[in-house]
Structure formats: structure tokens, C-alpha cells
Symmetry: C2
Subunit: 555 residues, 2 copies
């Protein structure tokens, strides 16, 4: 008879580990314990089920217990595990519904207990019509509610990616959607400039956004929420979606005496084994390593859970597989914007002791002359001392996912800007500009590394425009038709091709921040001005691509 | 006064080098000599101009001589260079039209003379209505001709990617299109299985394809082509498009005594400098290094030309930039199929002394439950001895370009299957399956490397089915509805979930090749059979994904 493998948790990492183990060792007895009615469902698909993009709830369930049974894996639904006895190798718990106690013996154990949504201890948090979105049952409940015409005002607490995915779904249901975020920007994993681009876009789509405003309390009538009280205002709310993030579900492991990591998730080694031999943890309940900083990190994602599940499945059978870590790659869609990130952002890079510089370029999905092109704005970040690529961000209707995947692979390869500038990517007019935007960004970074032209960030330009008008000027080198469409207030306009003759109109004593649409012409302008002896010239990173109305005005 | 830089060739690498040099050193005098009326146009866009996707011819021209002049770069159109005098640093030539002779002195020279189409020495090659597609003028001439309703039959000589891009354009113009290819398959850069998938697709779109058939002669009346004579048949042809490939334009360099490479293109070092100091070559006329084999190679592509042009632009100014080489990444579109490749194919890998194994998987562009998904078939190749990734191919309506770009980056990073299996790629349901197809393929390769299940290629299965029926059987483990749609003739059908009970129906003495739709269920079936003591069991690589009707039948 084979060894007995028990798996706690039936959503992503658990079923994956179970299936892989059974394939590796058909003699192994495998049982999955799941504390819910459903198993093996796509948590990441819930916002699209609510929006109606995914029509059938069943489509979210990738494998039913019957399918598992065909592969010789037993699924125990509605079985809540209450205790892991590490010494005697026994799980015990209680059946949901009947309350009947049960226990089971294991040789190997996989803990895949996932994560739970943050529930702030504020007044009114227990009112009706306050929802979370974590399990498929949360989605069922929310879906049922928002179908009603009586629900007009929805407040989303939290401007992270699940909140913003849901903002789209709810606008499409015809709701008035307001997002309330405690931090000074939405999308705190991204830099402020890119969060600003998204904010402006969402506001155009009708989403109201309030940043730097924590939720203080929920007010209601007859036990049902009616208003959200923030630090600055009271918002009408027929439904509140709490989307403040999640925390690892570690109580069972903690009570069993397993080592907890510095991140608050379960500590595991590279083999995904916990501090107790033969007991593994995988998915949202386990911590992992950040491949750029080398530090322990907790970034719960479905794709990571699946990879870890496979590694664990191999190792419970006596294999020797390892999961090296993650780089914080993420992507989501809100309305028609694709928003993606990998590696470190500027803030994170500075905090980790790097000297980050950035390039911001247009990221088209095809040659400029091939019709139907879509554009994202792409940022690539490198370390000034070593030239090593540290991360990237992409946002827009264009190929953000593709660009970020290329950058994620560059991070895995520990590439420098110079290496990235010559990578052999697939080019034909329907698929990419002749030089991939990633390569263009690498070239911009190389120019910066060589110190030919200094960069200045949009935030700093805005700051100086309002505080240092006497010593600071903005130069716009675009063409007339572009300037007519949008212009930075107070800027001087000299098209690039007139700069040779008209540079004399500029005040040499002032700092000059030059911009065009995205940064190439302004780069040339900086070179020309420096050649003419202008000393304090800077190129605005990304030009107008990142120039949004400031949140203060629109918020 | 600055140094004088002359550039021969004004399409891609030449203008790029000129522009970069002028930015690096504004004092430099830069002149581009171009032997045609047009400069800086997008050669790769010509098929889309002819198809009508690109409406305006001007859109193909990225920079006019006037734009170059604004940047201080002089363009000499219609100036044909006839001689490079390396010793005295002088170019000489003749103006097209007037025939007037000219000469010019250089300190630095860039040779970017490009490539020319192969023109076979066969009977009738000089007949009217025989076209090539290399320059924008070739495109003008062909475009003018095919607009006419009188042109009904078009024969394309050559089944490479330009020929196949043009097949789409010509079918959309309502022509009867036939492709004639000397090799046993179209698309010789790809493996036979993938070329077979494309062939079947193109035939469904109405393109007739004849392989293993060289063109012997062109026949005509009144000086205009009417028929193409192949080794096997005579085809009606109102227009013939010769698309047999290109050769590097090296006559000038050869006559100047510059070193030629083993590939027939101009030899250059990593700085793109030729054997003569201060003379550089870039783009389609120069050879480069294959980054996997380390050998010299000539793969002419617009994207490579642009990168090389930049490197040369830096170096002519005294910089020290290098171009490391290429990996044979390529992509093209024909009808709605995206066809892409990077690195080595199976044949190439074997020839280079590797021991290639392959994984073939479905490459979706989103989660299975997210509607509108598009699929490519993805192949990833690795070396059995080291586990190193060697190359990949992708074909279908799905995200071939994205998958191949990820693989190209894996090749740059010299990744193994194991490393590739855990890369942190961007996942959300609208953008990717939870595990990228690249990761799934890496997992399949890891299973193969561990020797758990042996693979067998579709070609070998076909061969054995026709020659070794007594000792060979095919087992189909799919579900009933799938089997009804398409089935391999002569196969035994036992769905995977019945295999436990019904394995006894199989003949243990025979070799068993198992398949499902793409390879996962059949992998499980192989494990089960091996567990039951079956010894000669193999998994068919890619399952039905690569099972096309054989070219012999349809050709």
C-alpha cells in the first residue's frame, strides 16, 4: 500500500499538488479536504463572472470531485480542518452542516489554506450589503445583489487591482461607482505617474475616486448599509465592496507549531516544505522569495499557487523539485486598459538600495503604419550603477501583458540595459514596431546611463512649476497641431526643427525641462541645447504620456 | 569641422546609423547615398500595401529627405555608388538618369547595401508579368498589375514567409493562388509538423500548394508569362511572383577588397566594423553570429538592421558598442494565422550536435473560461543532455508572437526547462491561462527529461501505421464527442477514465502510441499503462494538434 497524502484546501495549489502527486506515484492515497461546497474553482475569474463576461458559473470550476475520483483522488467537501497534530500525523475537524467530528492520518501533508479578506474593525462593518470578493460564494452573493435596480450606489473600499477590476463590472451594471483609497494614490504597487494615468482614465469612464481617504465607518438603516463615512466626506452606498486586500490563512499552521515567516505567511524552504518534515505549504498561505531583492515576500497569486502546487506534488513523492521565487509580476484589465507590472517600481528600488533610473516610451502593438494599432505606456527601470534591469510597468489599451512578460524574462536573465537593447524579438508589421518598445526603452536607459541627458520626472516638474517659476521653465518641442490639442500650462513652445535658430529665446539662467509627446524629440532637443552651451537642461521622462491632471484637481 | 560620414544605402540600417551618429556627434557631416528615388521605407510593410491593409503608400515612408535635412543629414537620392576606394577613402558613382559621375570623400563609411532577390536562370525568366517583391518600386509594379480583373491565376515561386504573406494578399484580391516549393515542405525554417499545420490551413483558405516541385521554366506568349512549368505539371499563370529568397548585396564591398564571411555576406566584428578600419557594414548585407550555435550566420531582418544601425551610429563617433548576434526569431501573419519561431528547430538542433526533445501544447491567449479565446499550437525544444531550451515554434490564431518572444528571452537567458517552468509571467484571466503555455511546455519537457514517458513524433506514427501494423497500435484516450469529430484511422479508442478496467483489450506485445487532443491525458494514460506493466508505450507529441492530412494526399 502506498503512502497517504492529505491536502488541506481545494482551490488552486491544493488540487494541483494532489493531481501531480497521484501522477508521480499512482500507489499514493490522496485526499483533499475542502471547507466549502465547491472545489478547484478559478478565484481570479470571479470579477468576470459578476460582470457577466463569463456566463456560466460552472465554467469557473475546472475539475469536479467526480473528475478527481476518476484519477483516484478523494475529495472531502464541507470538511473543515480544525487541528493538525504534527507529532502523531493526524488531522482532525468537523463536517460543516452536521457538525460531526472526523480525523484522518497522513504520511505527507500539504497545507493550501489560502488567504482571507481584510475586515477592518470599524463601526457598521457587520451591516447588510457589505460584501467581500474572495470565494465563489462571495461572488454568488454579490452577483445576486447587484442585479437589482434598487442598488444604485456602490462604494469600493480599496484601490487595488481587484477593486479596480470590479469598478468596471459595476459601471457596466449601470451603478454609480466610487473608489475610496487610504493611500495617496490608487494602485500602490505602481509608481505615482502610472497610477495617475489610470486614475484619469477611470474618471473618464465615470468612476469617482477618492485618495488619501480612509474609511472611518459604515452607516446604515434597518441593519443595511446606506452611507460610507470617510475622513473627508459621507458617500451614499447601497452596497459596499470591501477590497482592502487579503491576509494569509495561517491559523491552523500556527497552532500546529509550524514556523511562521517574517511576512506573516507560513515559512517554507525552496522545496516548499515547512519547518516540519513531510509537511508542505503552497499557494496563498505560504511565503516565498523575491528574486530581485532576495528577501522573503508574500505575493499571493493564482499562477504562483499552481507552480508551487506542482513542485509540492513532486516532492511529496520523494522528488527534489524547487520553487525559486517570484518577481511581483502582475496584470489586470479594467475597462479597455491593460495594466501590468514586474519587478520593482521606482520607490521599491530606492528602498532596496538601488539607484533607479527610468525610461518611459510608447508601447505600440504593431508598426506605426499598420492600421488599428493600440498603445500602452511602458516604463522600464534600471539601476544606474550596474545597468541591471529592475522592473517595468505598462498601462493602456495596448500589449501591456506582452511587454511585461518580455521584461519579466529579462529580470529572470538578470539582463542589463545593454543586453536588453539587442534582444532578438519577433518582428513583423502586424505584431510589433520594428524595434520592440522594450528595446526602445533600453536604448533610452543606455543614453541616460552614459549621462548624455539627465531626466526629470513629471511630479518634480509639476512641483517646480508651482514653486520655482523664476528659475524653472518648460520647453515644448512638438509640432503646432500637437500643441493645439494639449499643452502644459506656462510652457514655451519651439518646435524641434526651429530650435537651432530660436534657442536664443530661452533664458540660459533657468533650468529647462524639455518635453515632446513621449521623449525622443525632446531628447534630441536637449542634445542640441547642451551643444549650444545650455548647462541645466533636462528631458521630462515620458513627455506628455505621463502628464495627467493632478489628483488634487480631479479628486 | 567634424568628420565626414558617408552611408551607402537608405532603407533601414543606413538611415538608422546616420541618425544615431548625428545625435552622438552633431559636428559630424553625414551624407546618405541611395540608389533609388525613395529612402527610409518599410520593406516589411510591402505585402500589406499590396493587400490594401495599408491604404497610403506614403505611410510606408518613415522619414523623407526633408526630415533628414532638418536633422542636418544630407540625402543623395538616385546616386548609385559604383566603387569604394578603401585606401584613399573615396566613394565614386553615377547619378541615375543623367549618368553624371560623382565622387565623395569619407572619414567613416557605413555599407548598408541590403540584399537582392534570387533570380533563377531558367527559361522565360525575362517574360513580362514576372515580379519580385523587394523594393517599394517592385510593390508599385505588382500592385498596379494585380488590380486588373484580367489577372486571374498567380503562381508564387517559393513557400517562405514572404510568399505566404503574399498568398493571403492575392487571395483577398480574388486571384487563384498556387505556391510552388522545391523543398518537401513549405516554411523550411520550421519543422515538418508545423509546416503541415500551416499547409492544411492555407489549403482550406483556397491556396493550392505544390511541394517537392522546382520550377523548370516559365512559358509565355507575346513576351508575357502564361504558364509555369514545374517538375511535375504545367500551371496557368497570368502573374508569377518570384519569392525564392534573397542574397546579400556585397559586390561593392567585395570589389573594395573587404573580407567576405563564410555565409557570403560581409564579414564584420562585434562592433559591426569590416576588415577595413573605419568602414562598417550593417543590415541585410552583413553577417552576424547565431547566439545558440556561436556560428556565423546570415539572417536578414528589418529589426536586426535597425539594432545594428544604432550600434554602428555609436561606433562611427568613436563609441564602443557591440551587436552580439541573433537567434533566428521571426514572425509573420498569413490570413488569421500567426506563425513564429525562435532558436533552432528539431532538424537544426540535431545538425548542431544537440539531442533535441520537444513538447507540443495548446497555446491559449486567456483562461479557458474567459470567452473569445484564441489558440496557437506551441512547440518548445530542449536539449536532452543539459535541459537547455534550444528553440520554439508557434502557429495559429492565438498569441504566437507573445509566446515566441517569451521563449526568445529564455534563450537569451540560457534557461533550462526547470528554470522556464517557474518563471513569473503576467497572469489574469483575460491575458493568459493560469500557467502560461510556455510553462506547461517546460513541464512536459521536464517529464520527458526524467524519462517517465517516451515521446513519438507524428511523422513516425504515420510511417509505422503504414508499414508496421502487426507490431504497432495507436490508442486514443479522448471522450466520445471528441472522437466523433476527428479520429486517426485504425486507432483503438478507450477513454482515459475507462483505461483502468479496459487496458486488457490492448495487445501487450505491440508498441502502443497513445494520443489525446494535445498530450496531457495521453501522458496520464502512458503512466497508467506503464504502471500496469506495459513496456513499449509512447506519447504522441502534441496529440491531434499536429495530426494533419499528409501533404501527399492533399498536394
Amino acid at each position: 500500500m502506498g503512502k497517504r497524502l492529505l491536502v488541506i484546501g481545494g482551490v488552486a495549489a491544493g488540487p494541483k499538488a494532489a493531481a501531480k502527486a497521484k501522477r508521480c506515484d499512482p500507489e499514493m492515497e490522496v485526499v483533499i479536504y475542502q471547507g466549502e461546497e465547491e472545489i478547484s474553482y478559478a478565484g481570479c475569474g470571479l470579477p468576470y463572472f459578476i460582470s457577466g463576461v463569463i456566463k456560466k458559473r460552472d465554467d469557473l470550476v475546472s475539475r469536479t470531485p467526480g473528475k478527481f475520483a476518476q484519477d483516484g483522488i478523494k475529495v472531502q467537501k464541507n470538511h473543515l480542518i480544525e487541528k493538525i497534530d504534527v507529532q502523531s500525523r493526524i488531522l482532525s475537524g468537523r463536517k460543516i452542516g452536521s457538525g460531526e467530528a472526523f480525523s484522518d492520518h497522513f504520511d505527507r501533508l500539504v497545507i493550501a489554506t489560502g488567504a482571507f479578506p481584510i475586515r477592518p474593525r470599524i463601526e457598521g462593518i457587520d451591516l447588510g450589503n457589505v460584501f467581500y470578493l474572495r470565494s465563489i460564494f462571495d461572488a454568488d452573493a454579490l452577483f445576486e445583489k447587484i442585479k437589482s435596480d434598487k442598488i444604485r450606489n456602490v462604494v469600493i473600499a480599496g484601490g487595488g487591482y481587484i477593486g479596480l477590476e470590479m469598478a468596471e463590472s459595476l459601471v457596466q451594471w449601470g451603478k454609480n461607482v466610487k473608489v475610496v483609497e487610504l493611500a495617496p494614490q490608487i494602485l500602490t504597487l505602481f509608481d505615482g505617474d502610472f497610477a495617475g494615468i489610470l486614475r484619469q482614465y477611470l474618471e473618464k469612464k465615470g468612476v469617482e475616486i477618492f485618495t488619501s481617504e480612509g474609511i472611518k465607518a459604515l452607516r446604515g438603516e434597518k441593519g443595511v448599509v446606506t452611507h460610507v463615512q470617510t475622513a473627508a466626506r459621507e458617500l451614499e452606498a447601497d452596497v459596499v465592496l470591501m477590497s482592502l486586500g487579503i491576509r494569509p490563512q495561517v491559523e491552523l499552521a500556527k497552532q500546529a507549531g509550524l514556523r511562521m515567516g517574517e511576512t506573516g505567511a507560513i515559512w517554507v524552504n525552496e522545496k516548499m516544505e515547512t519547518s516540519a518534515e513531510g509537511i508542505y505549504a503552497a499557494g496563498d498561505c505560504a511565503e516565498t522569495t523575491h528574486l530581485i531583492t532576495g528577501k522573503k515576500i508574500w505575493i499571493p497569486l493564482g499562477s504562483t499557487a499552481n507552480k508551487q502546487g506542482r513542485v509540492v506534488g513532486v516532492n511529496v513523492c520523494g522528488g527534489n523539485d524547487t520553487f525559486p521565487g517570484v518577481m511581483g509580476t502582475t496584470v489586470f484589465k479594467t475597462f479597455d486598459f491593460n495594466v501590468a507590472k514586474t519587478g520593482l517600481n521606482m520607490r521599491e528600488a530606492e528602498k532596496e538600495g538601488f539607484h533607479p533610473i527610468q525610461a518611459i516610451v510608447r508601447g505600440y502593438d504593431r508598426a506605426h503604419y499598420y492600421p488599428g494599432g493600440k498603445e500602452s505606456t511602458l516604463k522600464v527601470i534600471a539601476d544606474q550603477r550596474t545597468g541591471r534591469i529592475l522592473g517595468g510597468q505598462a498601462i493602456g489599451e495596448g500589449p501591456s501583458d506582452k511587454l511585461i512578460d518580455i521584461l519579466a524574462m529579462a529580470l529572470h536573465g538578470k539582463m542589463t540595459c545593454k543586453e536588453l537593447a539587442n534582444v532578438d524579438l519577433a518582428y513583423a508589421p502586424p505584431f510589433s514596431p520594428v524595434l520592440s518598445p522594450v528595446i526602445t526603452a533600453a536604448n533610452v536607459l543606455m543614453n541616460k546611463l552614459e549621462g548624455k541627458v539627465r531626466g526629470i520626472q513629471v511630479e518634480e516638474v509639476k512641483e517646480k512649476l508651482s514653486t520655482s517659476k523664476e528659475t524653472f521653465q518648460v520647453l515644448d518641442v512638438r509640432e503646432e497641431d500637437e500643441v493645439k490639442r494639449k499643452r502644459i500650462p506656462g510652457s514655451t513652445w519651439i518646435p524641434l526643427w526651429k530650435l537651432e535658430k530660436h534657442a536664443g529665446e530661452l533664458d540660459r539662467k533657468k533650468e529647462i525641462a524639455v518635453h515632446c509627446a513621449s521623449g525622443l524629440r525632446s531628447y534630441n532637443a536637449c542634445l542640441k541645447l547642451q551643444h549650444k552651451g545650455f548647462e541645466n537642461v533636462k528631458n521630462i521622462d515620458g513627455g506628455l504620456l505621463c502628464w495627467c491632471d493632478s489628483p488634487e484637481k480631479t479628486g
